[in-house]
């Protein structure tokens, strides 16, 4: 029996009260690509960070090629032969140096390297590494001038210069185009042939189909499924990832009245299929899809951040082409963005200021703010949404994640919207706050069309009247939220039909 490259036994990790990894068992074999799938917050990045020495495990053990493996830090893990390429590519390269220097950077760090850089020797070595990896770029080019894909290749080549036993790739294709991703896959094939054990973290189905030898699925900090018999059962993997247990919540499904938002033959990208969609007054529509399905792009288009390739958008029968966010807001289209920490919260402000930020004009006399009016409006929302705080003058950073999110949602309920867009409104939110937010969104839905952009089926079933599935920039399925055929829904999300038709063009 061959020795496993890496074996993880009963790994545990907590951050404060938050139990992120609840006993993980994983084995990685040499010359095989193991795909790790999981929704946001499932714990897959934490697992990767423990393996690469960024975090110390709280419990459990790891062995590397049969030897006990307990890296004290990232450098130690690399020395022992576990190399990681992280999600943000620019962590892996030095943009201002040229390709040759980037490839040889790790040699320069070694103490055995002399004081002076031997330029010619360095370039010759770099050329060897590049050739071995099949990288075809000018070694004198500055890395900042290269495409994202080339930078990615260089980050991986740098990692491979150390001849690791285990290579971890954390969502490497998240910023690559399809052709760029193909080059990455070719490189991965080459490494697999060299006998490297590869852990590939992703939830992009097209990637997974292309390269997976095995699939491990994580959900809520535990392994919820392992798939290693040919042919791989992708649908079952997606089901294990999303977990479609029916929630107890009862949604009184509304079909809405007059159509408010109408998309006609809208193309999100040049090469995407056209989208046509109606959202009615009083209706909550959930748009679900995996990363890269185009739902974020649709939100951006509707909010005036991005332009569609072509097609028409109408609101209440009149043409709607927002030139900017400001323009969208003034026309009654509001959006609560995902990742509230980077996109929504003003950390220096208190609750009232954070909440009323978009509508300060209406709360001022001339240019002067009426603090009392701000407070009153904030108070109303605090009690309506059940935000737990001492007063609306508290700093936003004194609130828990769920309460912060409630403030961010409340921000856009202060004034009546024509179209309300909520991008991942339940991100980093506990179940109680999630129910509060969902209930309130449904209760106030009259008078506007509400679009909720979600990756999780559970959340969609909890809030929506209608579920629209997106994949590769197109709408591939639509379900009334009543006795939903979950198997069909999951198949749509994972793009099963797409490939079925894709093989016979």
């Amino acid at each position: 029996m061959a020795v496993d490259a890496l074996r993880v036994n009963g790994l545990q990790k907590s951050f404060g009260k938050n139990h992120v990894l609840r006993g993980i068992d994983v084995t990685l074999e040499p010359g095989s690509v193991t795909v790790l799938m999981g929704a946001n917050g499932a714990g897959k990045s934490t697992l990767a960070k423990v393996i690469c020495g960024h975090h110390r495990a709280d419990g459990g053990s790891m062995t590397l090629a049969g030897q006990a493996f307990d890296p004290v830090d990232a450098a130690d893990a690399i020395r022992q032969g576990v190399v990681t390429v992280h999600q943000s590519i620019d962590d892996g390269v030095i943009p201002d140096l040229d390709v040759a220097n980037n490839l040889m950077l790790d040699r320069l760090v070694e103490r055995s390297h002399g004081l002076f850089v031997r330029e010619r020797h360095l370039r010759a070595e770099a050329a060897k590494v590049a050739a071995a990896m099949g990288i075809d770029v000018n070694l004198r080019a500055r890395v900042s001038d290269l495409s994202v894909a080339d930078r990615q290749m260089i980050a991986i080549a740098r990692a491979m210069a150390r001849a690791p036993k285990v290579l971890i790739l954390d969502e490497p294709t998240s910023s690559l185009s399809a052709t760029e991703a193909d080059r990455l896959f070719a490189l991965i094939d080459r490494l697999r042939a060299q006998g490297v054990a590869i852990l590939y973290i992703s939830h992009r189905m097209s990637d997974i189909r292309r390269i997976a030898d095995r699939i491990i699925v994580m959900r809520d900090g535990a392994i919820s499924g392992t798939f290693d018999t040919e042919p791989l059962d992708y649908e079952a993997a997606v089901t294990a990832m999303l977990g479609h247990r029916m929630t107890e919540l009862d949604v009184a499904v509304q079909s809405g009245t007059a159509p408010v938002l109408e998309l006609t033959d809208l193309r999100l990208f040049e090469d995407a299929a056209p989208i046509s969609l109606h959202a009615r007054d009083g209706e909550v529509v959930a748009l679900v899809g995996l990363l890269g399905s185009g739902k974020s792009r649709l939100a951006e288009v509707l909010y005036g951040i991005a332009r569609p390739a072509n097609g028409a958008i109408c609101i209440n029968g009149t043409d709607y082409t927002p030139r900017s966010v400001e323009d969208a807001v003034s026309q009654g289209v509001f959006m609560s963005p995902k990742d509230r920490g980077t996109n929504a919260v003003i950390p220096a402000f208190d609750i009232a200021d954070n909440m009323t930020l978009p509508f300060l004009k209406g709360l001022s006399v001339g240019s002067f703010l009426k603090a009392s009016r701000q407070k009153t409006r904030a108070h109303e929302m605090v009690s309506q949404l059940g935000i737990v705080c001492q007063s609306v003058g508290d700093g936003i950073d004194t609130l828990s994640g769920g309460n912060q999110q409630k403030v961010m949602i409340a921000r856009w309920l202060l004034e009546p919207a024509k179209v309300l867009l909520l991008d991942e409104p339940f991100q980093g939110v506990d179940i109680g706050a999630r129910r509060d937010i969902g209930r309130h969104i449904r209760a106030t839905a009259k008078g506007r069309a509400t679009l909720v952009f979600l990756a999780e089926i559970d959340e969609a079933l909890e809030i929506a009247d209608r579920i629209v599935v997106m994949n590769e920039g197109a709408i591939v399925g639509e379900y009334k939220n009543r006795n939903v055929d979950l198997a069909a829904l999951v198949a749509d999300i994972s793009g099963a039909q797409l490939t079925a038709t894709g093989t016979h063009p």
């Binding site: 996109n343 950390p347 402000f349 200021d353 930020l357 240019s367 002067f368 703010l369």
Partner: protein, 336 residues
């Protein structure tokens, strides 16, 4: 209990220090406590204070303006050139300076917003450009009535009485001819900026941009316009400072205004510590300028040598920054 003490120290520590300093100098230095001395302190900080208020606006939007000193000296030279060589009336000279300040601010803003030049670099470049530019028309000479121009003629123009009034007039308060005009303008601008930043929606949106630019943009704030506006405010206030300096000196002195940039930046940064704001604010900036002024006046009256001044300013600045950043970070559970 300890937390409350810390909170109190952060909030009022700096004001208590200021008060203690005034009491100490009043006892130790005869003649320190009195309207004349107070007017002198205010006079000494008025121009740096005005510049500091401008730079506060750029700090609020998360930027920085290094060109204010050069804008002020450019306004000084421009007003002199306008009146002494081109023989313009006061109103034209003042207007030219204000327009120059606004234009420089606009260019700074556009460099930062449209051309994506980092704020420090854009305004540093502008600083050099202006320092050079203000010397070209006179071949690097100072401007005064009666000077010989390059074509052999003599400059006939003079600083008008109305212009000099801006820098030299003193209003009666308690005693005759006490309060200098620049101090009145300083207080006026301080109140305006204080109201603008603290109590208007524009100010609130500018603070939002400084705290999380992306989030501000995603609620529909015209981020670029506000940033440009901040640099224009900074340019205009700096040119006001330059006009007042010219009016006080009565000549286009090429060498004056060297310390303006550092002093005003220091005042704005000391302002972070006032009332535990931990962010740029107009009240703090005014107090910061005053703090340095009082300290220097008191030390001068106690016969401290002039060359210790910069050292003292530096020490105050470092202490204030420690106050702001170290103590605030230790405070458990932030909030206003």
């Amino acid at each position: 209990m300890n937390d409350r003490l810390l909170d109190f120290a952060i909030r009022y520590g700096f004001l208590i220090l200021l008060f203690g300093m005034v009491v100490y100098f009043s006892i130790a230095a005869p003649g320190f406590f009195g309207p004349l001395s107070a007017a002198f302190v205010l006079q000494s900080v008025a121009i740096t204070g005005i510049l500091a208020l401008g730079v506060t606006c750029t700090l609020v939007v998360g930027g920085f303006d290094l060109s204010i000193g050069a804008v002020a000296t450019s306004a000084l030279m421009l007003s002199a050139y306008s009146m002494v060589i081109l023989e313009h009336p006061t109103i034209v000279a003042v207007f030219l300076c204000l327009a120059m300040g606004a234009l420089v601010g606009l260019i700074n803003g556009l460099l930062i917003v449209k051309f994506r030049v980092p704020d420090l670099l854009a305004t540093l470049g502008m600083m050099f450009l202006l320092i050079g530019l203000q010397r070209i028309p006179t071949q690097g000479n100072s401007i005064a009535t009666g000077m010989t121009l390059t074509d052999g003629t003599v400059a006939e123009g003079t600083f008008s009485a109305a212009f000099l009034w801006l820098g030299r007039h003193r209003f009666d308060l308690f005693i005759d001819r006490l309060l200098p005009m620049p101090v009145v303008i300083f207080i006026g601008i301080a109140v305006l900026i204080w109201l603008f930043l603290g109590f208007t929606r524009h100010g609130r949106l500018m603070y939002a941009i400084g705290s999380n630019e992306r989030a501000a943009a995603l609620v529909g704030t015209p981020v670029n316009r506000y940033k440009i506006a901040a640099y224009m405010i900074s340019g205009v206030t700096a040119s006001i400072g330059g006009i007042l300096l010219a009016a006080r000196l009565g000549r286009g002195d090429i060498a004056s205004g060297n310390n303006l940039l550092l002093d005003s930046v220091a005042a704005a940064l000391i302002g972070f510590a006032v009332l535990g704001a931990a962010r740029p604010n107009a009240f703090g900036t005014a107090i910061g300028a005053l703090f340095v002024g009082i300290l220097l006046q008191g030390m001068t009256m106690m016969n401290a040598p002039y060359y210790t001044q910069d050292f003292v300013k530096g020490a105050v600045l470092v202490a204030a920054l420690v106050f702001t950043f170290y103590l605030s970070s230790r405070r458990s559970g932030t909030g206003h």
